[in-house]
Subunit: 228 residues, 2 copies
């Protein structure tokens, strides 16, 4: 897989690293905007989203150009394809950060339902998963990729816990419904961000092992419970 | 773009058509399971999801093999990359159908909040969008692709309408909260299915025009309203 890191692919690789850094930063700021009720931070996230959009287009262009000019062999080809797919996942992470920021704007100025505990924990794990997923792409660290895949369950469990907690709030105090709904969808966005990190890690394991482990549920901790 | 339809790529093309048919069928059955409160249909959807997972893996394999053996030029290369991306979108459509089916199982046996009107309309539009997105891939029909992209707004508007309607239900009758939440997330899933159809159409326009129209919001009817 060394060829990917040749100078010809430096641009693609460095754009992917940039996308990773930027998307993690967007998630961090968007969740801070929610927790601190800071509309200025939310607006910053919304303004920053087009950077990710442009980087994704660049990565696609660079990938297609490289494949077309260099006719790489199967392994290198897969690496470029995985890089392009990772770029797509990171762009979607940016979209979710943007969605969180929109909701942060609507929540700003409203009294918080209670101190934020689960949401920042979920967000911290999701950011770590993104960072680790990118690291395993850059360092070809397969164990790290498997660890990312396993952590997805933690975020799913926290999402379910928060969903239950917010449902109870809504039933007990109907005046909290609109705020609780915003928080539920923010939680859903974070859960999806963790899914994108998992996708990237799965693609990396696929690349490293030459086998496809996407859709192999045994890797995760048992079957997922039905309740969201 | 003719070369893509050469016998060598017949398998990839036919797998993509199969994926399209299957994913539309999964959405249709999942929404019927909700509307008719039929757990049997929901279980059918859940059992059918792995077909889509397997087809996506096949399409990726066929794409990489073709690119590696044939060293296609840029346009053909892009066509294969777009085919692989469409496969990924259709697999995610299957995931959303699966999520809808899970929620249909939880709703089965519960009294419906009111007759289903908006949800089946949203689902019908999303299915048409998927079909049209695939057709424009198979027939290189650029106008059809642009029409798909424009229709996304219809689904977004219906989603927002239903969200508002369900929020009011929840506030007025707290005993409807758990059912209303299930319906809100089902609506969100359908909205995402329409997004995936839009992604496929955008990729096709990009391919046909040789330019990237993803993230060009002017194509859509003005800026999106903030309320979800």
């Amino acid at each position: 897989m060394k060829r990917f890191f040749d100078s010809e692919l430096d641009a693609l690789r460095s754009h992917l690293v940039q996308m990773g850094e930027k998307s993690i930063e967007q998630v961090r700021l968007a969740v801070r905007a929610v927790v601190e009720g800071d509309p200025e931070l939310a607006r910053q996230v919304r303004a920053g989203d087009d950077v990710l959009d442009r980087l994704e287009v660049l990565i696609d262009e660079e990938g297609v150009r490289y494949m077309s000019l260099r006719n790489p062999v199967a392994t290198d080809l897969r690496l470029v394809v995985v890089g392009m797919k990772a770029g797509h996942d990171l762009e979607r992470v940016g979209d979710e950060a943007n969605n969180i920021a929109k909701r942060a704007l609507r929540l700003a100025g409203e009294a918080p339902l209670k101190p934020f505990v689960i949401l920042p924990r979920m967000a911290a794990i999701a950011q770590e998963m993104l960072r680790d997923a990118l690291d395993c792409f850059l360092q070809h660290d397969n164990d790290k990729a498997l660890a990312v895949i396993r952590r997805d369950q933690e975020v799913d469990d926290l999402h379910r816990e928060l969903y239950r907690e917010l449902s109870i709030f809504m039933a007990e105090k109907p005046d909290t419904i609109s705020r609780a709904l915003e928080l539920m969808f923010i939680s859903k966005s974070i859960e999806r961000i963790a899914d994108h990190a998992t996708n990237i890690a799965e693609e990396m394991v696929y690349l490293a092992k030459g086998e496809d482990i996407r859709h192999v549920d045994e890797l995760k901790k048992g079957p997922r419970p039905a309740q969201e």
